[in-house]
Assembly symmetry: C2
Homo-oligomer: 190 residues x 2
């Protein structure tokens, strides 16, 4: 998606440790016009898939998922919670996720009330790198017996193992910006 790629080239920052910082428009400050175009593009990419629910994970996936819902017949959005929360009851699907960015292990949870075998789920997230978060969401869908229509990712670092890891499970991954190389301040899409 050229609009997102251009935005990354214009406003993204490459930091030490292979970190691409896009907090100017995606995961701290959010450009809602861009989010809307991203939602529209996801609906084009997953057209005809009969998606009835969008699943994402707090926090950065929420804005993308909620705006995308408009283009999927306003289907409900469920966001998985990280860590033990008093407000998600005991009756949950759960999975561990290791965050490489923060170097911690999260307990990812979704209430059993909001995901079941009748759901055909589009999983949305802002980043796909090692695939830990996405894998947790996939595992939760399996626990619920829900079908996975595919994964819609804003930015994928295709040179890390996550994309392959998901594709190897036979799950369709669509990335709006797919980075195949990133070094010396250069970002190469492909």
């Amino acid at each position: 998606m050229k609009l997102l790629e251009d935005k990354i080239l214009k406003d993204g920052l490459i930091l030490e440790g292979d970190i691409l910082k896009v907090d100017n428009f995606l995961n701290h400050q959010m450009d809602t016009v861009l989010l809307d175009e991203m939602g529209k593009e996801f609906s084009r990419l997953f057209d005809g898939k009969n998606i009835n629910k969008i699943l994402t994970i707090e926090s950065s996936g929420i804005g993308i998922a909620v705006v995308a819902s408009r283009y999927f017949d306003n289907c409900p959005v469920v966001f998985a919670k990280k860590g033990k929360s008093a407000n998600v009851g005991g009756d949950v699907y759960g999975c561990e996720e290791r965050s490489y960015t923060r170097n911690v292990v999260y307990n990812v949870q979704v209430s059993k009330k909001y995901l079941n075998e009748n759901d055909n789920v589009l999983i949305i997230d802002d980043f796909l790198a090692n695939g830990e978060a996405l894998n947790a969401l996939i595992e939760i869908c399996h626990q619920a017996g829900a079908s996975i229509a595919g994964c819609g990712i804003a930015i994928t670092k295709a040179y890390q193992k996550g994309e392959r890891r998901i594709a190897d499970q036979g799950i369709e991954v669509q990335s709006l910006a797919r980075i195949i190389d990133m070094h010396d301040g250069q970002i190469i899409f492909g």
Copy 2:
């Protein structure tokens, strides 16, 4: 806002410890049609205020804020981060927030890049009870020298101290559902 009040009466659950659980439509699973109507109502309540930025806090405020942005000329949404995050740089506004629900103290942070003295901010959140989160966001706006156009809250527990605490600072608080009493499974709006 009758639509939200009716939804709370239909799908909200009162749990022990004065907890109103609305995770069926607001803060775990999200009803995006309802979110859209809420955004529209906020734009009516804050009409003519020349708001150029929406500030919220992760995670439950994000969905509401992003959808509301549509009705405020698609202004940028900034969400404050909780806890020490490697991805928010050192150059931040910060404030502590005590969460009564989770019984922990969070470090609430907003990058200095995304809030400044030219901003006229609408603060949006899902709940107002003791006002700890909202107060942290207000303090961050003060640190940035930003103007506060008002606070738009989905659900306020008006019998707790938060609403008064904010209003006493001369800041306009608009709540879409204002609960004046909650006991024995009954919710009274007013």
